[in-house]
């Protein structure tokens, strides 16, 4: 590219259509399951139907003689070589964890655990042979109830002393970040307000659309692993550590990856077993899970019981927040299972200026699939609890829930603000986001309609829910992670290769799976380096190309990963400067770099970056002592998290006769600082909203009394369809981050974090006049209807007006057909 005065407008901020789309739209995709190698074998897993049992015998004879079967492995066969799956985060020094095998050796601890592996010539033959493996089990007591498990009784793992893995405490008085909670609670008993609520964060399943798949090729010098993962760099390190293979002999490739949402932030049993099988066979092996296997055995999310105590003055100033959690780990600790609830520990105070805060969490084992990261990971739970409590406080005070929030939130002129949890929020403007959201939503009109429906005793009641969230994201900073017990770092890496033809290769350590990094990183580089958007190629997801990186999760890719890209670009320019000066016969200090060109100040002399790149490629005329390369790499480790925030408003219509909830209007205004690509940002928000709404209304992973997952297919696990959700109204305000040069904040998890409490607050608001102050998620028609029946039957006559016509059965309403009949006109 030659120097020119005509430059496109800034790329950053423009709604660029994505580079990624072309291959995805035309089916020229490289999903892991698309990969076929010569002589490749196929794996199928035999999984335990028992949640907790001793394996007494496994007969594999029939399977071994089945057509096409090459090998069958049991846990006993692989016990010595499989190692244990890692947990990378000890939240307290005395955290307890059982050994986590990839294949059960003598005991199974959840239904879905692998007990045998079939290796066959075709996937169909492998699956046929699964049916022929005969496993005998001695059943053990099954631990399923989180609360009961935390107190004792039967053990999830016989070799452990209890079901408790760890107990974590943060106390603002001890930490020196605030007052003593108990003092404030005691004070509130004397004329103040004291609210206690218990919320259930149901178990969810990430349910990425692409089932996980692994292909391992052991035939070359390096073992190559293609895997549908968010974390190829993690997979490389842990394959080395767990199986004792030199890291330098392992290459991991995450090709096109079909969604993750935290569900592919894992080092999996299936990855280990496919590597082992391939090494044994000396041939490439593939394993692709079925959807039912994915729902049953890929890690789940959430699953907590939250006991929350909030103290306030009679005027509504919050004086203390106390949070006591029970968190279900499931049967094992996965990669970051233990820390998921703790990622919420610093977020329960939300956007508020609370003077005292106490958080405790007990991590508990049960005989279920293990939990781990799912979009938001700890922060949705925290946001849900505090935003539900602020609505409860407003109801107690009899004031508008926005007013009580405003009374307690951090004012925009108070930033940077150090919270009671010890985090420094760099920037934000809750007033601006809320004002804009109210306007877009038509808040006052909807409140007026709500009053009219109340007064007329309408069968369909309107509820309005508010969620004013913030979150800490952009995982990083390494120092903080280390202090919290994480074994890894949080930095991110990038490199830039300046090709002789003027094209630019950006190699990112982050590993996208739908986020559009190839587009967004190209926009950033185009502006900063002054090259054309189309001249930038973004490479990622292959450890042999992207040699350093910590991958994609926790809304970190832009705020951490792209900052490494920016730093690498700056280094390229720095390296090019003396070369440009030499070629232009000018003093380096007299050069200014703009629009992809070094110009000599005060003259029209100059040299474009592409010309310099070619001159460096030739290396015929380099300044003395300067290496012939302007390629550069950089590692970035931020000093702080990213704190996006927003105001989400939801209006629901609740049919009081059927309990059906319909979202009438959902409006959100998010402040994620500067925006690189508004199109991508909006897409992230939409998708996040639906996942959070799905937790509020539909999704729940359910186990029966014997520990069998009964939501083991998409027939039963209710991922919403297009027909279930409305279109959203979205807006933005902009408080640039001060923690990075682009002023950007994370957005990947925001929608999911914010939307769940907005919806549930709306549902509760619609029926609060019945005397209802909570409905457990998911707020199914059955639960909403039952809540109305129970509240009414409990002599809790509607507190508002004119609901006589909605009179209810005089008996304590059981849930059965026909019991909703009252004197409805």
């Amino acid at each position: 590219m030659t120097a020119t005065d005509e430059r496109p407008a800034l790329e950053v901020g423009a709604p660029r259509r994505r580079k990624e789309d072309q291959r995805l739209l035309t089916g020229r995709t490289r999903w892991t399951d698309n990969i076929t190698l010569p002589g490749m074998l196929h794996l199928a897993m035999v999984r335990s139907p028992m949640a907790h049992a001793r394996i007494t015998a496994i007969n594999t004879d029939a399977a071994k003689s089945s057509t096409g079967v090459v090998a069958v492995y049991t846990g006993a066969d692989l016990a010595d070589e499989q190692g244990g799956l890692p947990n990378a985060w000890a939240i307290v020094p005395d955290q307890v964890a059982p050994n986590h095998p990839s294949i059960a050796v003598d005991t199974v601890s959840f239904a879905g655990e692998v007990v045998a592996v079939i290796v066959a010539r075709t996937a169909a033959e492998a699956r046929d042979a699964v049916e022929l493996v005969d496993v005998e089990y001695d059943e053990l007591p099954v631990v399923l109830d989180l609360e009961a498990a935390s107190k004792g009784g039967d053990l999830t793992h016989a070799e452990l002393e209890s079901n408790v893995s760890a107990h974590f405490v943060f106390d603002s008085a001890e930490a020196g970040t605030g007052d003593n909670v108990e003092d404030a609670i005691a004070a509130s008993r004397d004329g103040g307000i004291l609210l206690e609520r218990t919320f259930r964060q149901q178990r969810l399943i990430p349910a990425f659309m692409e089932p996980r798949s692994i292909v391992v090729d052991p035939t070359a010098e390096q073992l190559t692993i293609w895997t549908s993962t968010q974390v190829p760099h993690f997979v490389r390190v842990f394959t080395a550590l767990v199986l004792g293979i030199p890291e330098s002999k392992i290459r991991v490739i995450a090709p096109d990856v079909g969604g993750g949402f935290g569900g592919k932030l894992q080092f999996t049993p299936e990855e280990v077993l496919t590597v082992i099988a391939a090494r044994h066979a000396g041939r490439p092996c593939k394993y692709t899970e079925s959807r039912s296997e994915s729902l049953m055995a890929a890690h789940h999310g959430r699953d907590q019981i939250q006991h929350v105590t909030l103290a306030a003055t009679k005027d509504g100033d919050v004086t203390a927040l106390k949070v006591e959690l029970l968190a279900d780990m499931g049967a094992y600790l996965g990669l970051v299972t233990s820390v998921i609830p703790i990622l919420g520990a610093y977020m329960y105070n939300g956007i508020y200026r609370f003077p005292a805060y106490h958080f405790s969490c007990t991590n508990v084992f049960t005989n279920k699939a293990w939990t781990d990261a799912y979009r938001g990971a700890g922060r949705p739970e925290a946001t849900y609890a505090i935003e539900r409590m602020m609505d409860e406080l407003a109801a107690e005070l009899g004031v508008d829930p926005i007013k009580v929030r405003e009374q307690n939130w951090i004012k925009h002129e108070q930033f940077p603000f150090t919270t009671v949890a010890g985090l420094e929020y760099d920037s934000g403007n809750y007033e601006a986001a809320t004002a804009k959201a109210k306007e877009l939503f038509g808040y006052d009109d909807l409140r007026a309609e709500q009053r009219r429906r109340r007064e007329s005793g309408d069968q369909v009641q309107l509820g309005i829910g508010i969620s004013t969230f913030t979150e800490m994201c952009g995982l990083a900073p390494s120092r903080w992670l280390g202090e919290q017990g994480y074994v890894g770092g949080g930095w991110e890496h990038a490199s830039i290769r300046m090709l002789p033809t003027g094209k630019v290769e950006v190699i990112a350590g982050t590993s996208p799976h739908g986020q559009g990094h190839e587009t967004a990183w190209s926009q950033i580089v185009a502006d900063r380096l002054g090259v054309a958007f189309d001249d930038v190629e973004v490479l990622h997801g292959d450890t042999q190309i992207s040699t350093r990186g910590l991958d994609t999760y926790g809304s970190r890719s832009l705020t951490v990963g792209a900052m490494a890209v920016v730093a690498a670009v700056d280094k390229v320019i720095d390296k090019a400067r003396p070369i440009a000066a030499h070629l232009l016969e000018a003093n380096p200090d007299d050069l200014e770099y703009a629009g992809g060109r070094f110009g000599v100040k005060g003259t029209d002399k100059g040299l474009g970056m592409a010309e310099i790149a070619f001159a460096v490629f030739q290396a015929h005329n380099m300044p003395a002592g300067v290496e012939p390369s302007i390629d550069a790499e950089a590692t970035f480790d931020p000093d702080n998290f990213s704190f996006p925030h927003g105001t989400h408003l939801c209006a629901v219509e609740v049919d009081t006769e059927t309990g059906e909830v319909k979202i009438r209007n959902y409006t959100c205004v998010d402040d994620i600082g500067k925006v690189v690509n508004p199109l991508i940002v909006e897409g992230q928000v939409h998708g996040g909203l639906v996942q959070g709404i799905a937790q509020a209304l539909w999704e729940e992973a359910l186990y029966d009394d014997s520990g069998t997952l009964v939501t083991g297919s998409f027939v039963d696990y209710l991922v919403p369809s297009a027909a279930d959700v409305p279109s959203f109204t979205t807006g933005r305000t902009e408080s640039p981050a001060t923690s990075n040069v682009l002023g950007v904040k994370g957005v990947g998890e925001a929608g999911t974090i914010a939307s769940t409490p907005a919806v549930v607050n709306a549902v509760v608001d619609a029926v609060r006049h019945f005397g209802i102050n909570d409905i457990q998620m998911p707020c199914t028609p059955h639960r909403v209807w039952t809540a109305i029946q129970n509240a009414s039957a409990g002599d809790n006559t509607p507190r508002d007006v004119s609901f006589e016509d909605n009179a209810v059965p005089s008996h304590n309403a059981e849930v059965s057909e026909g019991s909703s009949e009252g004197g409805q006109a």
Partner: protein
């Protein structure tokens, strides 16, 4: 093995298949049409949607032998000479895809939807796509894309 004759994206083939082979597995494994993907095992997700004689079917719910003598169009057969089909273009313009895994099925179903109802309302689009799950987009931009493609696709 059973012999079938089938046209896939305009090219005729004669192949031997196991009678139990699903159309999607035939397309992916025997014909190399890996643009069509599998997302579930209960016909809920719609990721494998293709056209059979011009009408959308979930190819995990059709046996390859049932497609004998018929014409199959996959996502790979939509673009002509490198020019995107109007629905593909609409998905691109409206950012109607993120990870892209559901996209082949979404495209095929969206085209079928407009073939059956050339001028749908937003609600009709939402209901017409009910059998195709997407976990990334929240559907808003998919719906927008389909509505914007109305003029380009409907014939």
């Amino acid at each position: 093995m059973t012999r079938i004759s089938i046209t896939v994206d305009g090219v005729g083939h004669t192949d031997d298949v196991e009678p139990r082979t699903l159309l999607v597995h035939y397309l992916r494994e025997q014909r190399g049409k890996t643009g069509t993907v599998v997302g579930c095992d209960t016909s809920n997700c719609g990721a494998c949607t293709v056209h059979l004689d011009g009408t959308s079917v979930k190819s995990c719910t059709v046996l390859a032998v049932q497609a004998d003598g018929h014409e199959v169009t996959t996502v790979e057969g939509l673009a002509v000479d490198g020019t995107l089909h109007p629905m593909q273009q609409a998905f691109h313009e409206n950012h109607a895809l993120q990870c892209g895994y559901c996209t082949p099925g979404m495209l095929m179903q969206s085209i079928d939807l407009l073939n059956n109802n050339p001028h749908p309302t937003e609600q009709e689009v939402r209901e017409g796509l009910e059998g195709n799950l997407c976990r990334c987009t929240g559907y808003q931009n998919i719906v927008k894309a389909v509505l914007s493609a109305v003029e380009g696709v409907a014939s």
